[in-house]
Every structure is written in C-alpha cells, then in structure tokens.
C-alpha cells in the first residue's frame, strides 16, 4: 500500500488508513467527549509524524518513557521509512519487547478496545498498522489482611482488586505447571477479565468444562463484582443458600484447588468464587487446618451448635413458652413467667421485635461510616438491653435468647451462609408461633429436603454427609490428624 495514499481513506470503517490525520480523526470521533483519552503528537527525524494515544491513569506512562519510546521507534525506522515491512516490525519488537508486550493491529475497532483496556497506541504517518504497547499498570491498593476473614494463625495476605495480583497470590502457593489459568472476558460494556483457575489432573474434566460453559454463557452489560457471576452461574437461584464459596483468602482458594475445586477470579473485586460449594465446606475455615487438630475439631463442633442455635433458638423459645410450657423445668418456667409478667406482648411479637431491632442494628453497623459506628453500638446496648427490659417491653430471658442467637450467627465462617440462616430464622419463628414444635419440625423437614435436593455443579449440597461418603467425614464432622487425612485421595492443602 502506498504511503500518504489519500484515496483509500475510509473513515468509520474497520480498516485503518495510511494517513495519520485520517486515522486521528477517526479515533477522535470515537473518543468524543472521553476526557481521559490523551493524544501526544510527535515528530521523528525523518519528518515522520506520529501520535501516541492512551488513557491517562491506566498505564505506566510518563514523559521519560514516551521520549525513550520515540527514540526507539525512530532508530528502528531509520533504515527504511517507506512502508511497514516485517523488518521494521521485527526491529521494533526487539527494541521494545524487552520492556513491554508489543503488537501490531490494522483493525480499528480492535485498537479502540485495546486502548480502552489501557494499552498505548502509536500511530505513525504512512502506516496502516498501529503499534500497541501493553503498559497496563492499574493503581491498586496494597495487599492487606482480608477484612471479612481474619485468622489468628495463618497468612495475612488477602486478594485485592487487580486480577493479575490475585493470580500471582495463587501462583505463589502453587509453583506447578498443573495450575492452569484460563482467561475469559464478560460484560458488554465493562469487558471484565475473568480467570478460571484449576489444577489439571486433580479437578475433574467434566467440572472444568461445565464451569467454562457457564462462564461463557454469561450475557450481561457489566460485571461490577463477582456476585454477578455467582448469580449467573449458580444452579438454583431461588434458594436462600449460597451455592458457591466466596473468599478473600488466597490460602483458602489454594486449599480448595487442591481438593479438585475450580476458582473463578473476577477483575476489580477481591472476592474469588470457588465452585462447587457445599454446605460443610462453607462451615470450614483455613485456620481449622493450621491449629492443632483437637482444638480445630472442638471449634468445628462449636460451629455446628452455632448453626443450629442461630436458626432455632428464638423459635424454640416461642414454641416452648406459647405451646409447650410443660417441657420447661418448673423453676425455670416460674422465673420466665415472672419476668414476662409485665410484658404486654405475646412471645412471638416480643421475639420478632427484638430480632428485627437486632438485625437493623447489625445492618446499620455495616453501612455507617466508622466514626459514627460507635454511636450505633451505644444505642444498641440501650435498645437491646437493660433499658428495654426495665421499660417492660421485653423480658430478660428473651434478651438472653436474642443475644445468644446473635453470638451464634457471628460464628459462621461464610458471611453468605450466615445471611441465609439469619433470613430463615424469621419463617421459623412464624412456624413456631402458629404450630409450635410441630411447625418447627415441618419447616425443618422442608428446609432439609430443599438442602438435600440442592446441587452445586453436579455435587450434592450436603455431601459428603448425604449421600454418604464415610471416608470423607473425618474432614467434615471433625478435623482428623494430617497423618490420617493424607490417606484419603483428596486432602486439603
């Protein structure tokens, strides 16, 4: 193609022209009103004109870099400036490839996409190709301890918003070629990077294929957080239970990869999804494996008790005080009755009032800016506290029940699972208020049936307890010694 060929200028077309001005106009038209696009025209020795186009803030670009870049291009072009030949491409590659990834594109739309992704475009007069340099370097926060999952013993690094940093945190722990990372993009407007990580030979082929298929199927305008992906790929979206595990901890992800799970890392969020998610997996923390196994087993049992009590305590209180007084030991019954004497509400209303107030306080604590947050706890202590009892609005036994339920719900290692149980507590209370223990039993049966029916990527939600795989129970009901655990094929890292 002839240089300076004005005739074949095709503005608006996908192809690029050889004329710098035409190309520039085309880009300016596309990037109209995009204030963060920067144009830097320059001139090379041979009176050859060119322009850098890039997004400010997305790349590692400064004055010195650009000057060096210009010199490098210039020296490559010295021999031959007539047309773009393979020689020049090779020369530029060898000069610049050391510091950054270079590519040539003659497709207009593809170049626009790359610029938006943070690459630096170099337009040269007389060339129908654009040189694209990957100088992406996003400003991110440093690696910090995860805010939602802290441990006493264990690594303190957590994922952050940049996908490549997150991948490096995983790679650091698995220095093997078996760790595969397949890249996808999703979101029509956001064009978000998604990486699917798994250990080849450990994760099942069918699972990997299923995950890829479901991630590939995603059709949405923008993905702002992995929650979007979670909802779009999960099996049953009308269930209150989370069917994937979400974590900020690289060690947790790696541990699960070693168990044959697949991780989905989404750009711009520190929360990594691990599939398939099962109920008992959501009740485990990596720390269970770092502490001595006796202690870890005891904590697991404590957690099971917490799961049951966070769901059932208020409803059992309602059922017993409303329908089955006889089951409460006489002395306790008398003390409950005497403290309820001044309370005008039935047990159900009383419990509902307190639980809603408690949930409200909790939500307020999350949303409020930190300096104000303290005020919430003061108000909370007064509302759900002695003052409410003194005013005769609630009875003190109920206060104890609500606090114990609160404590139990803080014990969930997975915040999402905790949310599900917080929500289910309310229908449970209604069942208890209408049908007593019978109502609780029937709703529990419904819930259990639902949980047993749930599947996450082909894995039953309640496995390995049911369908029973007795060999794996030693890592579910308690935490066995590593010597015993390593005998099973799928041990956790």
């Amino acid at each position: 193609m002839a240089p300076n060929g004005q005739g074949d200028s095709t503005a608006g077309n996908d192809k690029l022209s050889a004329d710098l001005d035409t190309n520039l106009k085309q880009f300016q038209a596309v990037f109209d009103k995009c204030g963060d696009i920067q144009y830097r025209p320059f001139e090379l020795n041979e009176a050859l004109l060119g322009t850098f186009i890039f997004l400010s803030g997305l790349g590692n670009i400064n004055a010195v870099n650009m000057d060096l870049l210009r010199n490098a291009i210039e020296s490559s072009l010295i021999e031959q400036s007539e047309a773009l030949t393979e020689d020049i491409k090779a020369a530029i590659h060898s000069k610049l490839g050391f510091t950054s990834q270079t590519s040539w594109s003659d497709d207009f739309q593809a170049s626009v996409d790359k610029i938006l992704a943070g690459e630096l475009a170099v337009l040269l007069d007389g060339f129908t190709s654009i040189l694209l340099l990957n100088v992406k370097e996003l400003d991110t926060r440093s690696i910090e301890e995860p805010a939602t999952e802290s441990v006493i013993r264990g690594p303190r690094d957590g994922f952050q918003e940049n996908i490549s940093t997150n991948i490096s945190l995983i790679r650091r722990r698995l220095k093997t070629t078996q760790l595969k990372l397949e890249m996808f993009t999703a979101g029509k407007l956001s064009v978000t990077d998604i990486a699917i990580a798994y250990l080849e030979g450990i994760a099942e082929e069918s699972l990997i294929a299923e995950v890829k298929e479901r991630v590939g199927r995603i059709k949405i305008d923008a993905i702002l957080e992995s929650g979007y992906v979670e909802e779009l790929i999960e099996d049953n979206s009308v269930s209150p239970f989370p069917q994937v595990m979400v974590t900020e901890r690289p060690d947790k992800v790696v541990g699960n990869l070693l168990e044959g799970k697949v991780a989905i890392i989404v750009d711009n969020t520190p929360f990594v999804i691990v599939v398939p998610g099962t109920f008992f997996q959501l009740l485990q923390t990596p720390e269970d494996y770092y502490q001595r196994y006796f202690v870890a087993s005891a904590i697991r049992i404590l957690r099971f008790i917490a799961v049951v009590s966070s769901l059932l305590l208020p409803s059992l209180y309602i059922a017993l005080t409303t329908y089955h007084h006889e089951m409460i030991p006489t002395m306790l019954l008398i003390s409950i009755a005497s403290s309820r004497e001044t309370v005008p509400f039935p047990a159900f209303v009383e419990a509902m009032l307190m639980e809603v107030a408690f949930e409200g306080l909790r939500e307020a604590g999350v949303r409020l800016p930190r300096p104000v947050g303290q005020g919430v706890s003061i108000v909370g202590a007064l509302v759900i506290g002695q003052a409410a009892v003194a005013a005769g609005i609630v009875s003190s036994p109920l206060l104890i029940i609500v606090s114990m339920t609160g404590i139990a719900s803080f014990l969930f290692p997975s915040f999402q699972l905790g949310l599900a149980f917080r929500l289910l507590r309310f229908p449970m209370m209604i069942a208890a208020a209408t049908f007593g223990l019978y109502g609780i039993l029937m709703l529990m049966l419904m819930l259990l049936l639902h949980m047993l029916h749930l599947q996450s990527f082909g894995v039953p939600y309640m496995s390995p307890l049911s369908p029973l795989r007795a060999g794996e129970l030693k890592d579910v009901l308690y935490r066995a010694n590593w010597l015993k655990m390593s005998k099973s094929s799928k041990s956790r890292g």
Binding site: E326, P329, F435, L437, Y438, S466, L468
Partner: protein, 362 residues
C-alpha cells in the same frame, strides 16, 4: 432417574419398619410376653419380605406391581395390580389419621386438625415432587440422629429410676396362646407385611443387587429395636398398664424424670412420631403414584402427586370419628380383612410360585 443407594435403602427401611410403633407400641396385647411376640413376628415377617424380594428378583427389571400383569396375564393381573395403589392410599390415609388423632390431642390442643394435616400434606407433596433420591438422603441423615436421641432417651429412662426388671417375669405364665394371637395376623402385617410398599422402591436401588440382604438387615434391626423398646416399656409400667395404654411408648417418654429438671418430654415423642409418620406416608404415597404411573403407562409421576395427596388428606380427616374407633379398627378389623391378608401374604406367595414355575419352564 430417581435412584437410591443401598445404604439409603437400609435407612429408609429401618425407619419405615419401626415407623409408628414408636408411639403405638407393638403387640401390646400379649402383655409381658409382647417382646417375644415381636421377635416371632419379625421372623415370620422376614419370610414374607423374602417372598416380596424373590418376586422382584424372579422378574428382573420390573417393579413389583408390573409382575402381576406379566405373570397372571392382562385380565387377571391388571385388576389385582390396581388393588395395590388403592391399598397404599388407604394405609397412607390411616397414617394421616394417626397424625389427626395424636397431634391435636397431645401437643396442639387448640389448633384445628385440618390445618395440622394441611401442613403435613404440603411437606409430603413437596417431598414427593423432589422424589425418592432426596428422601433417601434425608433418611440417611436422620437415622443416626434418631439413634443418638433414642440412646439418650434410654439413658434418661434408666436414670429416672423407673425400670423394674421384675415386671418382665414370669415369662409365658399365661401360655403361648396370647402370643400367637398378636403374632398372627396383626404382628406379621404390621411393619413387615406393610413392607410391600417398599417393594416399589427396590427397582430404584443403584448399584443394583443385594436388596435382599439389605432388607434382612433392616428387618432384624427394626425387629430387635421394637422388641427392646417393648421390653423396656413393660419393665417400667408392668403388664397391666402397658396392655391398656393407648400410646404405651408415648407414656414411656412421659415417665422420664431426671432430678425434676428433665421432665415432660412427651412433645419430643410426638415429634419422632410425626417424622416416622412422614416417612411412612411418603413411601406409601410414592408407591401409590409409582404404581399408578406404571399401570397407566404415564411418563412421569408428577401429575399424580397432588390428587394422591388430596385423597390421603381427605381420608385422614374423615376416617375415624375418634381415636378409640381408629385404634379398634387397626387392631380388630384391618388384620382380618381379606384384602390385607391376600394382598400382603397369599397372593404374593402365589405370584412367587407362578414366577418360579414359569422361569423353570422357560
């Protein structure tokens, strides 16, 4: 495909066979010899169950209900086969009636029975829609839990200091007569003859095979459990009270009293009962819808679930005017009815013989 594992079948069968005896007791008419009657019934019942098992094994690939048209021909076999879903529905109705009688009179005195039954049927309907697989998993989880609760209960009863082993003796002082009277036909039909409905489940067991062994194991475990509980109830109450109590096992739980602190656990007894009744009703209605599906050559069982649930609900609500009438029918009329005896005992034997002869001829 709606499948169930052998382990799950074991759990389902044990819960199914223990079933409502956890409240109603078993063979209490035999007084202090009742535990012996239970063991004898178990042995006879085992033989009956083996008949069902061999029928399904002689006709591989067919559910129990389909064996009739195959072996007896279309004109004789199909009507007999159609009697089964009706029988299953009737028994399911009886269990719903048990709930109807027991729950309002014990733990929910002020609640209208229809609302209690509605909730029950909703849960049953939901479980039927989810299918056998989920139910197998549920049984698998619940059985160990029930075991733990039962052991705790035994420990509590013993620590309540009400057990008096002298009540168990003298054994057989009134002769074998009253033992035989409860063993045949009631003892054999209750729990064991009723396992006929389980025969509709056996073809869903994967991996295939060894159903017979699983059923033997579950029958022996359930039988010894019932015998043990009977013996415990006799040793707590003595013969007279045990014989007369409407719900002897319920009374057993009421007898728990540890240091005046753990007392009046009867509501938990009712809860077991509700769970047992839930699983039994599920199996009966599942057997009923599977039979209807097979007999009408329908593609799926889904369209039969709601009608069957409604029928069981209405049956349960209207079956008996009061608990006395209800239990009298169970003890005096049902076991001697020709339909029960022939469908559960005689016709299966004929079917087994015919299947065996035909197989030999072929």
């Amino acid at each position: 495909m709606d499948t169930i594992s052998r382990h799950q079948l074991l759990a389902v069968s044990i819960i199914y066979q223990i079933g409502t005896t956890i409240i109603f007791g078993f063979a209490s008419g035999a007084g202090r010899d009742s535990w012996l009657a239970v063991l004898i019934s178990t042995m006879l019942g085992l033989a009956i169950i083996m008949v069902y098992v061999s029928v399904t094994q002689l006709n591989p690939g067919l559910t129990y209900i389909e064996c009739y048209p195959k072996q007896f021909g279309k004109w004789l076999g199909t009507p007999i086969a159609w009697l089964h879903p009706l029988l299953f529905l009737y028994i399911a109705g009886r269990i719903v009636a048990d709930i109807n009688n027991l729950v309002p009179s014990t733990i929910l005195p002020g609640t209208p029975p229809w609302s209690i039954l509605t909730i029950f049927m909703i849960v049953i309907g939901y479980s039927l829609f989810l299918g056998l697989k989920v139910m197998g998993r549920l049984a698998e989880i619940i059985l160990p839990l029930l075991g733990i609760i039962y052991i705790a209960e035994v420990v509590l009863i013993i620590s309540s200091g009400v057990v008096d082993l002298d009540n168990l003796f003298p054994l057989l002082d009134k002769g074998w007569n009253r033992v035989w009277k409860v063993v045949w036909p009631l003892g054999v039909i209750q729990s064991y003859g009723e396992s006929l409905a389980l025969a509709m489940v056996w073809t869903s067991v994967r991996p295939k095979g060894r159903v017979g062994r699983t059923m033997v194991l579950s029958t022996l475990l359930a039988g010894s459990f019932i015998a043990f509980t009977d013996a415990m109830a006799i040793s707590v109450f003595g013969e007279e009270i045990f014989k007369r109590a409407t719900y002897p096992m319920y009374a057993l739980i009421q007898a728990i009293n540890v240091a005046d602190f753990i007392t009046q656990l009867d509501a938990t007894g009712v809860l077991y009962f509700c769970f047992m009744a839930f699983l039994k009703t599920f199996i009966y209605l599942y057997a009923a819808v599977r039979s209807i599906q097979k007999l009408t050559y329908a593609q799926s069982i889904r369209s039969f679930i709601i009608p069957v649930c409604v029928i069981a609900f209405v049956l349960g609500l209207t079956m008996a005017p009061n608990v006395i009438a209800h239990i009298t029918v169970v003890e005096k009329i049902v076991p001697y009815s020709p339909i029960y005896l022939s469908l559960m005992i005689f016709i299966p034997m004929v079917l087994m013989a015919v299947s065996w002869l035909r197989r030999k001829a072929a």
